[in-house]
Structures are given as C-alpha cells and as structure tokens.
C-alpha cells in the first residue's frame, strides 16, 4: 500500500488544494508541503526497509485490473527507482518552498500535486502500459504550469512542449504495442530475458529510443527543452530538469537496456555517438549563450549527454555512474535554475552581458550561485565531480582512447560557466544596480531550498557510497546480461 498511497495521495489531495484557496490563501502551499513530507516519510520508510543486498525488486504491490490483457497495476521498487523516488520527494518539498509566494496558489499547487503522483508511478511501475499512462499524464500539469505561470513567450513554449513530447511518446507507444504483440505481456519481470527475433527487437528498440531520447533530451531531439526551460517559472524548471528529464534516462535504462541487452549492445556505438554529440553541441551552445537561463538549460542537456554516455558503456560501472550523474544533475541544476530565476527577478534582465558585480550587492545568494556553478563544472567534493569522473572512466574502459575527447568537452563546460561568473557575478557593479531596490537578499524561507540542494549535493559528493550502495547490486546483476 505504500507505493500506491504515494501515487494516489497527491492526486486525491490536489482538489483540496485547488478549492482550499478560497478558504485561506496559504492552505494550498501547506497541503503541498504536507504531501511532500508524506512522500519523504514514505521514501525514508522504503529506504530503511529496502533489503541491502538489493538483488531485484522489493515492496511488490499488485492490483488486478484486467489479467487476460496483462493490464495490472504492478508496483515495486529496486535501488534505481528508489533513488529517483527519493529525488521526487526531495524536489516536492524544495519546489513547494521555492513557490511560497506564487500567484494563484490554488491552481499552482493543484497542478504540482497531480504532477507528483504520476511521477512516482513512472518510477515505481513494473507494468509497461501503466508506465506509459503515468508518463503521458505528467505532460498535462506541466503544460499548464509553463503556459500560465511562465514568462512572456510562455504559450508558444507550452504548446511546443506538449506537441513535441506527445509526438515522441507516440513512437514509444508504438514500440510498446509491437513489444506486447510479440511477447504477450507488459510485465517487466516477464519481459526480462524474453526472446525476440532480432528484427523485431531492433524495431522496438528504435521506436522506444525515440520516445526516451526526446524526453532526456539528447541532440538532435532537444529543441523543445531550451524554450520550455526559459519560459517556465523557475520552480517548474526544477521539475523539468530534475524529474522530467530523468524519466527519459530511467525509461531507457529500465525498459530498453535491461530488457534488450543484445540489441542495446548493437546500438551502443550509436548511443555513444549521440552522447558525445550532445555533450559537445550543448557545450558550445552554452558557451555562445548570453541568456543566463538558456545557458543553464544547455548545460543541462550537456549533463544528460554524460548520462547517456554512461548508459552507452553498458558496463556496471558506467550505468552506476550514469545514475549517479542523474542524481547530481537533479540537485545541481535545480539550484542553478532557481538562482538564475532569482537573478532575473531582481535585476529584470536575463542577459549576462547586462549583468555585472552582483557579488557586491547580494553576496549571500551569489555565494550559493558560485558553489552551484563549481559543482556543475565538477569541483571535487561535490556530486558533479564524482558523476562526470565515473562516467568518463567507464567510457574509457569500454570505448578506449577515442573518449579522450570527452574531458575536452568537460573543460568546455568549465569554460562557459567560468566566463559567465566572471562577467555576471564578479567584476565591477553594473551602472544602475546601486540603487536598484529589488536587488537584495532572499527572505529566509526561499533560502531554505537552496541550502537543501547544496547540502544534498555536497553530501552525496563527499560520501558517494550513500547513493552507489543503493543500486550497485541491482546494476551488477543486470550488467551480467551485457556480457
């Protein structure tokens, strides 16, 4: 019942948040915070009770819907899903705190809550059709979040986001249908090791890969993301980067690599090529970007390239590293998006060339920004360092010296971030900023989530074992399939 309640409770509470606004303006956010706390408690329970050997799934819940068609809600978690559910709970709390003063809180938190339930469902579902149902439903609240609370071009971005990602899901759905017709089941545990003819397996693999690649996103399927990120309100950018992109990588890992190890091996060079392309393309785009949020968005694509590279290595080390990179990315990029949003809020400009010397006016916020940027470029002691390093080691291991180009891209990442810091944060204060009334430190409640991100990515950076130990046994078991 734990997993089901984590999916249902947010959805059931959501209408109360919507209507509760009429009773009291603050009620929706407290409800959302309560649900976040509930998710965190449940996650803590799952983490404590999770059998340490981690060999496979735990906490099975099976709800019969229509057995002959194999349409049953089967929920269970292993170490990998557990990590992502933990991030969901963590972001539920931090996003609520970051949106403390949002306009129209009733509708906003209604959408947050109906987003969270299916999000847990995506990570906990072992039935492919249910996975898809949860997967698709997350689009609806996201569409309204971007479209209602976004920046000037929000409607364009929301429409593009919905149509683009829905179109991608069509390929995923077709892949699911072909897979079902070839195997007669949607169940993960029945699908593991199932034998498909190579042509069918390749067809299914490609169809599903398109769906996952758009969501991740990787070049050339990424064009929806910068628009969505730039227009979305910052807390929603956090959901986008922290959870929505992870759905793509998680889906790729769970429903493609683990299910079709041989086919994945066949396509691994393609994945690696796309990954390196993504890393470089996004790196260069970020370097050329003057818009601070768009720059963070491209750096986010760059990091997802690392995730894909880790997955493409098809080794236990690489997959573990990719999952770790997902965790680190979720925490670090969330911090950067939040602060980029605050910078715009305070200075009324998005453009790096119009900023300067912010450190002099708002040292507290800017210190956190610098910490976040250093983590993003891979400062040792943060999650960014461990993630990129382990991914690169795995890639070297599998693909050899050709991967020497990847650290170059990493240097590129350091380059664009440092250049941005030098122009926007340090240096002389820009004219007109001395007397800008809005340019002051954040209220305490909005500092809390930022501090939580920093504490989290330093914690997992210093003691990576807290994350690695959770899913390494699972990954090791599945990595045997690739041998």
């Amino acid at each position: 019942m734990v997993l089901l309640s984590m999916i249902l409770l947010p959805v059931l509470v959501a209408p109360f948040a919507w209507l509760g606004e009429r009773l009291h303006k603050d009620l929706p956010k407290y409800l959302s915070l309560a649900v976040g706390a509930f998710l965190a408690l449940c996650t803590a329970y799952l983490l404590v009770k999770y059998p340490g050997n981690g060999n496979g799934f735990a906490f099975h819940e099976f709800y019969r819907i229509y057995p002959p068609f194999d349409f049953n809600l089967h929920l269970a978690v292993d170490g990998i899903s557990l990590v992502l559910i933990a991030i969901t709970a963590f972001l539920a709390i931090t996003v609520t705190l970051s949106s403390w003063h949002v306009e129209r809180p009733g509708a906003f938190f209604f959408l947050v809550l109906i987003f969270l339930g299916p999000m847990v469902g995506v990570f906990a579902s072992l039935n492919l059709l249910w996975f898809f149902i949860f997967w698709e439903f997350t689009l609806v609240p996201m569409f309204f979040h971007i479209g209602i609370w976004g920046a000037e071009n929000r409607i364009y971005a929301a429409m593009k986001f919905f149509i683009y990602t829905h179109l991608a899901s069509v390929f995923l759905l077709l892949g699911i249908i072909v897979l079902y017709l070839s195997t007669g089941t949607f169940e993960f545990e029945k699908l593991v090791g199932v034998h498909l003819s190579p042509e069918i397996a390749k067809l299914v693999w490609i169809l599903m890969f398109i769906g996952f690649a758009v969501k991740m996103p990787v070049v050339p399927f990424h064009t929806w993301l910068p628009d969505a990120h730039v227009q979305a309100p910052s807390p929603i950018s956090v959901f986008l980067a922290g959870l929505l992109l992870k759905m793509g990588a998680y889906g790729l890992l769970r429903w493609e690599l683990f299910l079709f190890p041989q086919t994945s091996k066949f396509f691994a060079p393609l994945m690696a090529f796309i990954a390196v392309l993504t890393i470089f393309y996004a790196g260069f785009r970020a370097l050329a970007e003057d818009h601070i949020k768009r720059m963070v968005a491209y750096s986010s694509i760059n990091h997802m390239g690392f995730v894909l590279l880790g997955l493409a290595s098809l080794t236990a080390a690489g997959i573990s590293a990719a999952i770790y990179e997902m965790v680190g990315h979720a925490l670090i990029i969330s911090l950067l998006f939040m602060i980029a949003g605050y910078i715009h809020h305070k200075t009324h400009t998005w453009y790096i060339s119009e900023l300067g010397g912010l450190m002099k006016k708002i040292p507290g916020l800017m210190t956190m920004f610098v910490i976040g940027v250093l983590a993003a470029v891979g400062l040792p002691g943060t999650a960014g360092f461990v993630g990129e390093l382990t991914v690169m080691l795995a890639a070297f291991d599998y693909y050899g010296w050709i991967m020497i180009i990847v650290p170059l891209a990493s240097a590129l990442g350091a380059g664009f971030f440092m250049w941005m810091l030098q122009r926007a944060v340090f240096g002389p204060l820009r004219e007109g900023f001395e007397n800008l009334k809005s340019l002051k430190e954040l209220p305490l409640v909005e500092n809390v989530p930022l501090a939580m991100y920093i504490a989290a990515f330093i914690l997992v950076g210093v003691i990576p074992a807290v994350v690695f130990n959770l899913y390494n046994p699972v990954v090791n078991t599945f990595a045997q399939l690739f041998k």
Partner: protein, 471 residues
Amino acid sequence: MNINFLAAVMILALTGAFLPVINRVFRISGILGAIISSIGYVVSLFLVIISDQGRSILNSFFVTDDVSRLIGGMVLVASWMTMLVIYWITEKDKFVNELIGALMISTAGALLLISAENFVSLIIAMELMTMPTYLMVLFAFDDTSLEAGVKYFFNGALAVGFMLFGISLLYGMTGSFEFAALAKNLFKDPLVALAAVFIFAGFGFKLTAFPFHFWGPDVYDGTCPGVAALLTGISKSAAFIGLMRVIYEAIPVISKEFTLILAVIAAVTMTVGNLLALAQKRVSRILAFSSVAHAGYTLVAFAALSVPVSVTGILYHSVAYVFMKTAAFLCFAVFLFIWGARTMDDYKGLGRREPLLAALFLIFLLSLAGVPPMAGFISKVFVFTAAVDAGMTWLALIGLLNSAFSVAYYIWIAKQMYLEEPTLDKPINDSPKKNFVLIPLAVMAVLLIVLGIWLTPVLNASAVYAAKVGF
C-alpha cells in the same frame, strides 16, 4: 431479440412519442419534462441491463448479446445526459419537448441498430434512428440550419439508397436478408464485392468517412449543438456497431478482400479530418472535423479485421467515443448558451469564467486527444494494437502520428480557455441554476475516466463477440 430489450426500446420510443402530447395537454414545464423522460430512460436502462433474462422474440431480426447490452447501456446513458443538457439550454423554447421526443425515438432506433442481424431490420433501425434527426437538425429554424437540414437529408437519402442497392444485390444472389444465412451462402464473386462496396458506401456516409464526409462538418456546425452531439456521438457510435455486425456476421467471405481499401480510407479519413480541423476557427467545426478524424481511427480497427483485437478496438472506441464526442459537443452547447462563445477567440479566458465547465471540457478534449488515463487513450491503444497485429504497422504509425498532431488543436482550445485573457465580459444567459448542467457532463467525465482504467466490461463483451464470430 430478448423481450426485455424490446420492451426497453418500446418504452423509450413511446415516452418520446407521447412527451409532446403530454406537453400539449398539460403544459408541462422543463423540469417536469426532464423528469418524465428521465423515468423513460431509467426504465429502459434497467431493462437493457437485465435483458439476458426473459423470452426471445423476433429471432432472425435482432439479437441481444453482450455487445448490444453494453453499447445499448452506454448509448442510453449518453442520450439521457444529452437530454438533460438540452432541456437546460433550451428550457424556454416552446418546442423543446418535441425535440426531446425526437431524441428519444432516435435513441430507440440506435438501440435497434446495434442489435440488428438482418438487413431489413438494419435498414429499419437505421431509418428510425435517422428520421427524427432530420427534423432535429431543422430545429433552430434559421437559414444555416435549413441549409444543414437539406444537406443532411439528401446525403442521408443517398446513403440509404446506396445501401438498399447493395442489399438488393445480395438478396438477388441468396434470397435472404439474414446475416447468418448470407454468411453461409455467399461466395467470392465480383457481384458480392460490388454489393459490399455499396453497403460500405452507405455506412461511409453515416460515419463521415472520406470521401463521403463533406456533409458532416456543415451539418454539425449548422444545427444546434445539442443535436450535433446526438449526430456525431450517439448515432455514429451505433453506426460503428452496425457496420461491425455487417462485416463480421454478414459478409465475412468478402470483407477480408477489402482490408487494403479500408486501410487506405482510414488513413485518408483521419489525415483529412485532422488537417481540416487544424485550419478551423470555430470550435464547433473543429469538433466536427475531429469527428471525421475519429471515424478514421475506428476504420483502422475495421481494416484490421483479420485479428480478434479489431473487435476490441471497435467496441472500445465506440464506447469511449459515444461519451467523449457527445460530451464535448454538449460542453460547446453550454458555452454557447451561457457566453455565446463560438469561435476560438471567444474561448479566450473561459477557464477563468467557468472553471468547472472548462475543466470538464478539458477532460473530454484530452480524452479525444488520447491522453491517459481517459478511455480515449485505451481505445486508441486497442485500435492501433489491432492494426499492428494484423501486420499493418504503417497504418498504426499513420494513425498514431495523426493522433499526435490532433493534440495541436485540442490543446489549442485548452490554451484559449486557460492561458489567454478573457475577451467576453458578460454572459448572455446567466442562470442561477448554472451548476445543474454540470451534473450530466460530470457523469460522462467520470465514466470516461473509469472506463479508461476498468477495462473488464468492454473486454469481456468483445471476447464473447469475437468468439461468436469465429476467432
């Protein structure tokens, strides 16, 4: 046919027939009329549900099986909800009871159509379903509805003509109208194929399948939207089932030859419907062209007739469609009544003006677009599963891409309602009893969500039917 089912049809038709008479004699108010017709609906719904007990009559004409009970129940619920909404939006019109009477008789015809297993009864049922709607289309008594009515009448007459010609050819060859007898006696012959083409053409008109779709949007747009809800939702769903029985029970020998033709018609129908819907400015025309596109999706399942999943696809899509399309048009009707909103520009900001009504409309639009967990999603899964299973992955891909592109105009309406500033300031008909009209719409929304997750009733019915037609 089961005597309970027949009683259900008779009670519905008689309630409908006597409603105007009662009104003329006793001058009943809107609410009283709604209560009387609701009693008719409830009784006949009850009779449909229990219709597997009781004596059988008229056996070679009609059949009462799981399909007719399931779809019959769904059609009755949809029609009942339509009746409630129509009463609400046309309460003060002095002819409203005539309109409701015609609606009930037409629904009775739909009930007969979904259980017809003989070409004579099929034609009678279809005409019983259609004749009252000729009258209903003219109900607004203005120029556009006159034009729509004329178009509708001539196309309907043409459709019946085509079908009768095809049927007469079959009769000439076998000397029988019965589906079972035809299936036994027919053999592969060019003349049989010709007859099938004419019968398909007749159904093509009813379903607004390409190239017989031209009348559809003009009529749905020209008449009052409550009537359009009946035409695009209830009548079409019933016609799907009628065509399903013809294909699987009457002419199975020849229908497999039509796979490719049906597939091409399906592909063109959905593409044309979606492309034209994208170009529309009036919400009623968008819904009308989306109804053409949905005829295409259903035809995908018909094209996949060599596999049993096709039956599931047809049934599920009919069930989902009868609610989502009827309800979408009814939402449009209510918006038109309260705000006078017709075009996309009028819909700006209506989400803020009517939060609950707009939320319901959103559910129906998302279901039409195929977003889970609504029934429209799972029905599309079955339709396209059937196509892939029958070896027509290309058709499934075209259908899925179409479905993804159709999201553009559904979400466009949502965008207008929720993301734009309102343009309409004052409602033209503000009723204090506004929340009553939400109840029938909410019932359909709940049914759509429940049927999107609880697959058992439809899948069981389709399994029984698939076994019956020999899969």
